[in-house]
Symmetry: C2
Subunit: 167 residues, 2 copies
């Protein structure tokens, strides 16, 4: 971040926040994780202004979080869709952690928490610190129980067997 003082500039946390810190970024990412791919869909789901969305999307492409790929639905003209990159998927645990933290500490009473479950075992999934050798859940293995606001992950990345697994 340009507003940072000298030696902290290369702190990985600062660098991360420089990319992810802007308000809409993580939300847009969540939509993308949820399968949203097109401009209009992002805009309607989130209700943010078109100009902001345009800029945010462009930045996220520049930052390597989204990839803008052309495709042609049936007989229509060519379109583009924004696909989350592996770099973006690597933020999945962070986003989930944030969401679960919000659920736990910022609940407004009426909304039941979003419960993530592992598809295979059916067990609840949480974001946590674990040792290297622990079995982790890949984004593709994660779904939600009740089904509110955070649906299942439709298109997980190819190689991300487990996010955050051994370096």
């Amino acid at each position: 971040m340009e507003w940072m003082s000298v030696d902290l500039g290369n702190c990985p946390l600062i660098r991360a926040l420089d990319v992810v810190g802007k308000q809409w970024t993580i939300i847009v990412l969540r939509e993308a994780f949820n399968g949203v791919r097109r401009f209009e869909d992002f805009q309607h789901h989130l209700g943010l202004s078109r100009s902001v969305l345009s800029r945010r999307l462009a930045e996220m492409v520049t930052d390597g979080l989204l990839e803008r790929v052309p495709y042609r639905p049936d007989g229509e003209r060519e379109r583009h869709e924004y696909q989350p990159t592996d770099k973006a998927w690597a933020l999945y645990p962070v986003m989930v952690g944030l969401m679960q933290w919000g659920d736990r500490y910022l609940a407004d009473g009426d909304a039941e928490p979003v419960r993530l479950v592992d598809r295979h075992s059916g067990k609840a999934v949480v974001a946590a610190l674990v040792t290297d050798d622990t079995a982790t859940c890949a984004p593709a293995d994660v779904g939600v129980r009740p089904g509110r606001s955070f649906k299942t992950v439709p298109a997980a990345p190819s190689d991300h067997g487990a996010c955050g697994d051994g370096r």
Copy 2:
């Protein structure tokens, strides 16, 4: 966030970002996790302006992330220190996840990654998604290998045996 459209307002992710989303918040939190407690220390470590720090600290106290507790060192006059609350410690995995993500994808080449290790096993610690029943690392169990920028955790919270463990 006030800038959010209607129904998304109670999305836990949005609520979380409303509290944590401001740029300095997580950085200040990291310092607090690292044992920094006093105004001057935050200011010198981070190099941010006193006015901003003052506001940020006050907000974080309001938001329940920090607690301002009085204490009296040896024979001096009374002082105050900012202690991270359990609510703040619950963000530890998120912060670590962000930091590791920055290390992995935003490395500037010259800086070696911050390696977190479990004190007991000596194994590397990562932020990840796991099932409910997985053994997790409490903040107090986590230290760093080389010792750059992210030191050991000096004062972990009382009851946080494992962050993110079974709800």
